[in-house]
Symmetry: C2
Subunit: 202 residues, 2 copies
Amino acid sequence: MGITAQQFEQMKSRLGRGTRAPRAVMEACLQPPRSRHQVIVGIDPSLRGTGYGVMRLGKPQPRVLAQGTIRCPASWERSRCLARITQTLRDVLKQHRPTVCVIEALFYAQNLQTALLLGEARGASLVAAAEAGLDIYEIAPRKVKQAIVGYGAAQKLAVAKMVQRLLALDEPPASDAADALALALTFAQEQGRYSLSPLKRV
Amino acid sequence: MGITAQQFEQMKSRLGRGTRAPRAVMEACLQPPRSRHQVIVGIDPSLRGTGYGVMRLGKPQPRVLAQGTIRCPASWERSRCLARITQTLRDVLKQHRPTVCVIEALFYAQNLQTALLLGEARGASLVAAAEAGLDIYEIAPRKVKQAIVGYGAAQKLAVAKMVQRLLALDEPPASDAADALALALTFAQEQGRYSLSPLKRV
Protein backbone atom coordinates (compact mmCIF):
# COMPACT_ATOMS: atom_id res chain seq x y z
CA MET A 1 0.00 0.00 0.00
CA GLY A 2 1.20 3.57 -0.63
CA ILE A 3 1.24 6.45 1.81
CA THR A 4 -2.02 7.87 3.14
CA ALA A 5 -2.31 11.51 4.13
CA GLN A 6 -2.27 10.39 7.76
CA GLN A 7 0.83 8.26 7.35
CA PHE A 8 2.44 11.14 5.52
CA GLU A 9 1.79 13.44 8.48
CA GLN A 10 3.17 10.86 10.92
CA MET A 11 6.26 10.45 8.78
CA LYS A 12 6.76 14.21 8.68
CA SER A 13 6.51 14.54 12.45
CA ARG A 14 8.87 11.60 12.96
CA LEU A 15 11.44 13.06 10.59
CA GLY A 16 10.98 16.48 12.14
CA ARG A 17 12.14 15.30 15.57
CA GLY A 18 15.77 15.97 16.41
CA THR A 19 16.84 17.16 12.97
CA ARG A 20 18.44 20.52 12.36
CA ALA A 21 17.30 20.88 8.75
CA PRO A 22 15.57 24.20 8.24
CA ARG A 23 11.85 23.57 8.17
CA ALA A 24 11.35 24.89 4.62
CA VAL A 25 13.90 22.52 3.13
CA MET A 26 12.43 19.56 4.95
CA GLU A 27 8.95 20.45 3.72
CA ALA A 28 10.18 20.67 0.14
CA CYS A 29 11.86 17.29 0.34
CA LEU A 30 8.83 15.63 1.82
CA GLN A 31 6.43 17.31 -0.57
CA PRO A 32 4.93 14.51 -2.63
CA PRO A 33 5.33 14.85 -6.39
CA ARG A 34 2.27 15.78 -8.46
CA SER A 35 0.51 16.79 -5.27
CA ARG A 36 -1.68 19.39 -6.87
CA HIS A 37 -4.80 17.22 -7.16
CA GLN A 38 -6.97 17.64 -4.07
CA VAL A 39 -10.35 16.64 -5.53
CA ILE A 40 -10.33 13.33 -7.38
CA VAL A 41 -13.06 11.55 -9.31
CA GLY A 42 -12.93 7.81 -9.93
CA ILE A 43 -15.10 6.30 -12.68
CA ASP A 44 -15.88 2.63 -13.28
CA PRO A 45 -17.71 2.66 -16.63
CA SER A 46 -20.25 0.16 -17.86
CA LEU A 47 -23.25 0.55 -20.15
CA ARG A 48 -25.97 -0.25 -17.59
CA GLY A 49 -24.25 0.74 -14.33
CA THR A 50 -21.39 3.24 -14.35
CA GLY A 51 -19.98 3.83 -10.87
CA TYR A 52 -18.51 7.17 -9.84
CA GLY A 53 -17.04 8.65 -6.69
CA VAL A 54 -15.63 12.09 -5.94
CA MET A 55 -13.47 12.74 -2.89
CA ARG A 56 -11.46 15.63 -1.45
CA LEU A 57 -8.15 14.87 0.24
CA GLY A 58 -8.00 15.94 3.87
CA LYS A 59 -7.43 14.90 7.47
CA PRO A 60 -8.01 12.61 9.20
CA GLN A 61 -9.09 10.96 5.93
CA PRO A 62 -10.35 12.02 2.47
CA ARG A 63 -13.97 13.17 2.42
CA VAL A 64 -16.49 11.75 -0.06
CA LEU A 65 -18.26 14.57 -1.93
CA ALA A 66 -20.43 12.38 -4.16
CA GLN A 67 -20.81 8.75 -5.10
CA GLY A 68 -23.33 6.73 -7.01
CA THR A 69 -24.20 4.47 -9.91
CA ILE A 70 -25.60 5.69 -13.23
CA ARG A 71 -28.28 3.08 -13.93
CA CYS A 72 -29.70 2.53 -17.42
CA PRO A 73 -32.56 0.01 -17.80
CA ALA A 74 -32.01 -2.91 -20.17
CA SER A 75 -34.91 -1.59 -22.28
CA TRP A 76 -33.03 1.60 -23.17
CA GLU A 77 -31.23 1.88 -26.47
CA ARG A 78 -27.46 1.99 -26.16
CA SER A 79 -27.10 5.53 -27.39
CA ARG A 80 -29.57 6.73 -24.77
CA CYS A 81 -27.48 5.06 -22.05
CA LEU A 82 -24.33 6.69 -23.37
CA ALA A 83 -25.91 10.13 -23.42
CA ARG A 84 -27.14 9.59 -19.85
CA ILE A 85 -23.63 8.58 -18.71
CA THR A 86 -22.02 11.67 -20.24
CA GLN A 87 -24.75 14.01 -18.97
CA THR A 88 -24.71 12.67 -15.39
CA LEU A 89 -20.93 12.78 -15.14
CA ARG A 90 -20.91 16.29 -16.63
CA ASP A 91 -23.29 17.40 -13.84
CA VAL A 92 -21.21 15.69 -11.14
CA LEU A 93 -17.97 17.26 -12.43
CA LYS A 94 -19.58 20.68 -12.65
CA GLN A 95 -20.87 20.47 -9.09
CA HIS A 96 -17.76 19.11 -7.37
CA ARG A 97 -14.94 20.37 -9.63
CA PRO A 98 -12.39 17.56 -9.40
CA THR A 99 -9.10 18.27 -11.23
CA VAL A 100 -8.20 14.68 -12.01
CA CYS A 101 -10.14 11.65 -13.22
CA VAL A 102 -9.10 8.03 -12.68
CA ILE A 103 -10.63 5.30 -14.78
CA GLU A 104 -10.25 1.53 -14.78
CA ALA A 105 -7.86 0.11 -17.37
CA LEU A 106 -9.40 -2.83 -19.19
CA PHE A 107 -7.74 -6.11 -18.45
CA TYR A 108 -10.33 -8.59 -19.55
CA ALA A 109 -13.55 -8.94 -21.53
CA GLN A 110 -15.47 -12.10 -22.37
CA ASN A 111 -15.44 -11.38 -26.09
CA LEU A 112 -15.17 -8.66 -28.73
CA GLN A 113 -18.79 -7.63 -28.34
CA THR A 114 -18.39 -7.11 -24.60
CA ALA A 115 -15.17 -5.16 -25.14
CA LEU A 116 -16.92 -2.98 -27.68
CA LEU A 117 -19.82 -2.18 -25.34
CA LEU A 118 -17.45 -1.49 -22.46
CA GLY A 119 -15.42 0.70 -24.79
CA GLU A 120 -18.52 2.73 -25.68
CA ALA A 121 -19.26 3.34 -22.00
CA ARG A 122 -15.63 4.33 -21.43
CA GLY A 123 -15.77 6.66 -24.43
CA ALA A 124 -18.89 8.37 -23.06
CA SER A 125 -17.21 8.76 -19.65
CA LEU A 126 -13.92 10.03 -21.05
CA VAL A 127 -15.67 12.65 -23.18
CA ALA A 128 -17.27 14.14 -20.05
CA ALA A 129 -13.94 14.20 -18.20
CA ALA A 130 -11.90 15.51 -21.15
CA GLU A 131 -14.39 18.27 -21.99
CA ALA A 132 -14.26 19.36 -18.33
CA GLY A 133 -10.49 19.76 -18.73
CA LEU A 134 -9.47 17.09 -16.21
CA ASP A 135 -6.18 15.22 -16.20
CA ILE A 136 -7.11 11.59 -16.87
CA TYR A 137 -5.25 8.48 -15.74
CA GLU A 138 -6.05 4.81 -15.90
CA ILE A 139 -5.13 2.16 -13.33
CA ALA A 140 -5.45 -1.60 -13.72
CA PRO A 141 -8.03 -3.27 -11.42
CA ARG A 142 -5.35 -5.59 -10.02
CA LYS A 143 -3.26 -2.60 -8.94
CA VAL A 144 -6.30 -1.03 -7.26
CA LYS A 145 -7.08 -4.19 -5.31
CA GLN A 146 -3.43 -4.53 -4.34
CA ALA A 147 -3.39 -0.94 -3.08
CA ILE A 148 -6.70 -1.04 -1.21
CA VAL A 149 -6.94 -4.60 0.11
CA GLY A 150 -3.30 -5.65 -0.26
CA TYR A 151 -4.28 -8.56 -2.48
CA GLY A 152 -4.60 -8.31 -6.28
CA ALA A 153 -7.40 -10.86 -6.60
CA ALA A 154 -9.56 -9.49 -3.78
CA GLN A 155 -13.35 -9.93 -3.90
CA LYS A 156 -15.65 -7.00 -4.60
CA LEU A 157 -17.06 -7.02 -1.07
CA ALA A 158 -13.58 -6.84 0.45
CA VAL A 159 -12.87 -3.75 -1.67
CA ALA A 160 -16.17 -2.13 -0.65
CA LYS A 161 -15.52 -2.77 3.05
CA MET A 162 -11.99 -1.39 2.87
CA VAL A 163 -13.24 1.69 0.99
CA GLN A 164 -15.82 2.18 3.74
CA ARG A 165 -13.09 1.99 6.38
CA LEU A 166 -10.58 4.24 4.59
CA LEU A 167 -13.22 6.89 3.98
CA ALA A 168 -15.01 6.47 7.34
CA LEU A 169 -18.37 5.88 5.66
CA ASP A 170 -21.41 4.71 7.61
CA GLU A 171 -21.85 1.71 5.32
CA PRO A 172 -19.99 0.05 2.42
CA PRO A 173 -20.77 1.81 -0.90
CA ALA A 174 -22.62 -0.12 -3.62
CA SER A 175 -20.26 -2.24 -5.68
CA ASP A 176 -19.82 0.08 -8.72
CA ALA A 177 -19.40 3.21 -6.60
CA ALA A 178 -16.98 1.36 -4.30
CA ASP A 179 -14.81 0.44 -7.29
CA ALA A 180 -14.83 4.08 -8.41
CA LEU A 181 -13.85 5.33 -4.94
CA ALA A 182 -11.14 2.65 -4.78
CA LEU A 183 -9.70 4.07 -8.02
CA ALA A 184 -9.67 7.56 -6.51
CA LEU A 185 -8.02 6.30 -3.31
CA THR A 186 -5.37 4.42 -5.27
CA PHE A 187 -4.59 7.54 -7.24
CA ALA A 188 -4.27 9.55 -4.01
CA GLN A 189 -1.77 7.02 -2.70
CA GLU A 190 0.17 6.99 -5.96
CA GLN A 191 0.45 10.77 -6.17
CA GLY A 192 1.63 10.82 -2.55
CA ARG A 193 4.84 8.96 -3.27
CA TYR A 194 7.69 8.72 -5.71
CA SER A 195 7.02 5.89 -8.11
CA LEU A 196 9.21 4.08 -10.61
CA SER A 197 6.15 3.15 -12.68
CA PRO A 198 4.19 6.35 -13.20
CA LEU A 199 0.47 6.07 -13.91
CA LYS A 200 -0.63 6.00 -17.53
CA ARG A 201 -2.35 9.10 -18.86
CA VAL A 202 -5.15 8.47 -21.34
CA MET B 1 -29.09 -2.87 -54.21
CA GLY B 2 -32.19 -1.17 -52.79
CA ILE B 3 -34.23 1.54 -54.45
CA THR B 4 -32.74 4.96 -55.10
CA ALA B 5 -34.94 8.06 -55.15
CA GLN B 6 -34.56 8.06 -58.93
CA GLN B 7 -35.56 4.42 -59.31
CA PHE B 8 -38.47 5.08 -56.98
CA GLU B 9 -39.68 7.88 -59.24
CA GLN B 10 -39.34 5.67 -62.32
CA MET B 11 -41.26 2.89 -60.61
CA LYS B 12 -44.00 5.33 -59.64
CA SER B 13 -44.39 6.62 -63.20
CA ARG B 14 -44.38 3.08 -64.59
CA LEU B 15 -47.04 1.94 -62.16
CA GLY B 16 -49.00 5.13 -62.79
CA ARG B 17 -49.40 4.38 -66.48
CA GLY B 18 -52.68 2.76 -67.43
CA THR B 19 -53.97 2.15 -63.95
CA ARG B 20 -57.29 3.41 -62.71
CA ALA B 21 -56.35 3.58 -59.02
CA PRO B 22 -57.07 7.02 -57.64
CA ARG B 23 -53.81 8.91 -57.41
CA ALA B 24 -53.99 9.37 -53.63
CA VAL B 25 -54.35 5.65 -52.96
CA MET B 26 -51.50 4.83 -55.27
CA GLU B 27 -49.27 7.42 -53.59
CA ALA B 28 -50.07 5.98 -50.20
CA CYS B 29 -49.22 2.46 -51.34
CA LEU B 30 -45.99 3.58 -52.90
CA GLN B 31 -45.05 5.82 -50.00
CA PRO B 32 -41.95 4.28 -48.52
CA PRO B 33 -42.16 3.46 -44.81
CA ARG B 34 -40.18 5.61 -42.37
CA SER B 35 -39.74 8.20 -45.08
CA ARG B 36 -39.43 11.11 -42.73
CA HIS B 37 -35.64 11.31 -42.75
CA GLN B 38 -34.43 13.70 -45.44
CA VAL B 39 -31.05 14.68 -44.00
CA ILE B 40 -28.88 11.73 -43.02
CA VAL B 41 -25.48 11.61 -41.35
CA GLY B 42 -23.23 8.56 -41.66
CA ILE B 43 -20.38 8.10 -39.18
CA ASP B 44 -17.48 5.67 -39.44
CA PRO B 45 -15.76 6.01 -36.04
CA SER B 46 -12.13 5.38 -35.23
CA LEU B 47 -9.82 6.96 -32.68
CA ARG B 48 -7.41 8.65 -35.11
CA GLY B 49 -9.64 9.12 -38.17
CA THR B 50 -13.42 9.24 -37.78
CA GLY B 51 -15.17 9.65 -41.13
CA TYR B 52 -18.46 11.53 -41.44
CA GLY B 53 -20.79 12.49 -44.24
CA VAL B 54 -24.08 14.40 -44.27
CA MET B 55 -26.43 14.28 -47.24
CA ARG B 56 -29.89 15.57 -48.11
CA LEU B 57 -32.21 13.38 -50.20
CA GLY B 58 -33.29 14.94 -53.47
CA LYS B 59 -33.40 14.66 -57.22
CA PRO B 60 -31.68 13.73 -59.41
CA GLN B 61 -29.53 12.39 -56.55
CA PRO B 62 -28.90 13.12 -52.87
CA ARG B 63 -26.75 16.20 -52.23
CA VAL B 64 -23.69 16.08 -49.96
CA LEU B 65 -23.87 18.83 -47.34
CA ALA B 66 -20.65 17.97 -45.52
CA GLN B 67 -18.04 15.26 -45.45
CA GLY B 68 -14.65 14.83 -43.86
CA THR B 69 -12.34 12.96 -41.54
CA ILE B 70 -11.70 13.93 -37.92
CA ARG B 71 -7.95 13.45 -37.65
CA CYS B 72 -6.21 13.06 -34.29
CA PRO B 73 -2.39 12.83 -34.29
CA ALA B 74 -0.82 9.72 -32.75
CA SER B 75 0.82 11.99 -30.14
CA TRP B 76 -2.54 13.02 -28.67
CA GLU B 77 -3.85 11.33 -25.56
CA ARG B 78 -6.89 9.17 -26.17
CA SER B 79 -9.24 11.33 -24.14
CA ARG B 80 -8.25 14.37 -26.18
CA CYS B 81 -9.10 12.50 -29.40
CA LEU B 82 -12.48 11.47 -27.98
CA ALA B 83 -13.33 15.03 -26.97
CA ARG B 84 -12.33 16.22 -30.45
CA ILE B 85 -14.56 13.59 -32.09
CA THR B 86 -17.60 14.57 -30.00
CA GLN B 87 -16.98 18.30 -30.44
CA THR B 88 -16.50 18.13 -34.22
CA LEU B 89 -19.56 15.94 -34.75
CA ARG B 90 -21.60 18.22 -32.47
CA ASP B 91 -20.65 21.18 -34.69
CA VAL B 92 -21.46 19.27 -37.90
CA LEU B 93 -24.86 18.15 -36.55
CA LYS B 94 -25.67 21.66 -35.37
CA GLN B 95 -24.84 23.15 -38.74
CA HIS B 96 -26.59 20.63 -41.02
CA ARG B 97 -29.38 19.30 -38.76
CA PRO B 98 -29.68 15.67 -39.87
CA THR B 99 -32.54 13.77 -38.21
CA VAL B 100 -30.99 10.32 -38.39
CA CYS B 101 -27.51 8.94 -37.79
CA VAL B 102 -26.15 5.71 -39.27
CA ILE B 103 -23.10 4.09 -37.78
CA GLU B 104 -21.09 1.03 -38.72
CA ALA B 105 -21.90 -2.13 -36.77
CA LEU B 106 -18.75 -3.82 -35.57
CA PHE B 107 -18.06 -7.09 -37.27
CA TYR B 108 -14.43 -7.66 -36.56
CA ALA B 109 -11.53 -6.44 -34.45
CA GLN B 110 -8.03 -7.85 -34.24
CA ASN B 111 -8.17 -8.23 -30.47
CA LEU B 112 -9.83 -7.00 -27.28
CA GLN B 113 -7.63 -3.91 -27.09
CA THR B 114 -8.58 -2.86 -30.64
CA ALA B 115 -12.25 -3.49 -29.91
CA LEU B 116 -12.00 -1.37 -26.76
CA LEU B 117 -10.40 1.56 -28.60
CA LEU B 118 -12.93 1.32 -31.42
CA GLY B 119 -15.68 1.17 -28.80
CA GLU B 120 -14.40 4.37 -27.20
CA ALA B 121 -14.51 6.19 -30.54
CA ARG B 122 -18.03 4.84 -31.16
CA GLY B 123 -19.08 5.95 -27.69
CA ALA B 124 -17.79 9.48 -28.33
CA SER B 125 -19.64 9.57 -31.69
CA LEU B 126 -22.89 8.16 -30.31
CA VAL B 127 -22.94 10.70 -27.46
CA ALA B 128 -22.85 13.55 -29.98
CA ALA B 129 -25.67 12.00 -32.04
CA ALA B 130 -27.82 11.02 -29.05
CA GLU B 131 -27.49 14.43 -27.38
CA ALA B 132 -28.56 16.04 -30.65
CA GLY B 133 -31.73 13.94 -30.48
CA LEU B 134 -31.11 11.92 -33.66
CA ASP B 135 -32.55 8.49 -34.39
CA ILE B 136 -29.56 6.17 -34.53
CA TYR B 137 -29.20 2.96 -36.54
CA GLU B 138 -26.31 0.64 -37.20
CA ILE B 139 -25.62 -1.29 -40.40
CA ALA B 140 -23.04 -4.02 -40.90
CA PRO B 141 -20.20 -3.14 -43.32
CA ARG B 142 -20.99 -6.18 -45.45
CA LYS B 143 -24.55 -4.96 -45.95
CA VAL B 144 -23.25 -1.51 -46.94
CA LYS B 145 -20.88 -2.94 -49.54
CA GLN B 146 -23.62 -5.20 -50.85
CA ALA B 147 -25.96 -2.22 -51.21
CA ILE B 148 -23.46 0.18 -52.76
CA VAL B 149 -21.22 -2.02 -54.89
CA GLY B 150 -23.40 -5.14 -55.08
CA TYR B 151 -20.65 -7.25 -53.56
CA GLY B 152 -20.23 -7.80 -49.80
CA ALA B 153 -16.45 -8.07 -49.86
CA ALA B 154 -15.83 -5.04 -52.07
CA GLN B 155 -12.57 -3.09 -51.75
CA LYS B 156 -12.50 0.36 -50.16
CA LEU B 157 -11.67 2.06 -53.47
CA ALA B 158 -14.65 0.43 -55.19
CA VAL B 159 -16.92 1.81 -52.45
CA ALA B 160 -15.40 5.30 -52.76
CA LYS B 161 -15.84 5.30 -56.56
CA MET B 162 -19.44 4.15 -56.35
CA VAL B 163 -20.17 6.78 -53.69
CA GLN B 164 -18.67 9.39 -56.00
CA ARG B 165 -20.94 8.23 -58.81
CA LEU B 166 -24.14 7.93 -56.76
CA LEU B 167 -23.63 11.39 -55.31
CA ALA B 168 -22.26 12.99 -58.50
CA LEU B 169 -19.11 14.20 -56.76
CA ASP B 170 -16.15 15.66 -58.66
CA GLU B 171 -13.79 13.11 -57.12
CA PRO B 172 -13.99 10.03 -54.90
CA PRO B 173 -14.17 11.02 -51.20
CA ALA B 174 -11.30 10.05 -48.89
CA SER B 175 -11.67 6.52 -47.59
CA ASP B 176 -13.18 7.27 -44.13
CA ALA B 177 -15.61 9.86 -45.46
CA ALA B 178 -16.58 7.54 -48.34
CA ASP B 179 -17.47 4.80 -45.84
CA ALA B 180 -19.58 7.28 -43.88
CA LEU B 181 -21.42 8.46 -47.01
CA ALA B 182 -21.92 4.82 -48.05
CA LEU B 183 -23.64 4.22 -44.69
CA ALA B 184 -25.94 7.20 -45.30
CA LEU B 185 -26.73 6.01 -48.85
CA THR B 186 -27.50 2.49 -47.63
CA PHE B 187 -29.85 3.89 -45.03
CA ALA B 188 -31.60 5.98 -47.69
CA GLN B 189 -32.13 2.86 -49.76
CA GLU B 190 -33.38 0.86 -46.78
CA GLN B 191 -35.88 3.49 -45.69
CA GLY B 192 -37.14 3.68 -49.29
CA ARG B 193 -38.46 0.11 -49.30
CA TYR B 194 -40.34 -2.39 -47.22
CA SER B 195 -37.90 -4.68 -45.55
CA LEU B 196 -38.30 -7.98 -43.76
CA SER B 197 -35.18 -7.31 -41.71
CA PRO B 198 -35.54 -3.80 -40.30
CA LEU B 199 -32.39 -1.92 -39.36
CA LYS B 200 -31.17 -2.18 -35.79
CA ARG B 201 -31.60 0.89 -33.61
CA VAL B 202 -28.80 1.53 -31.15
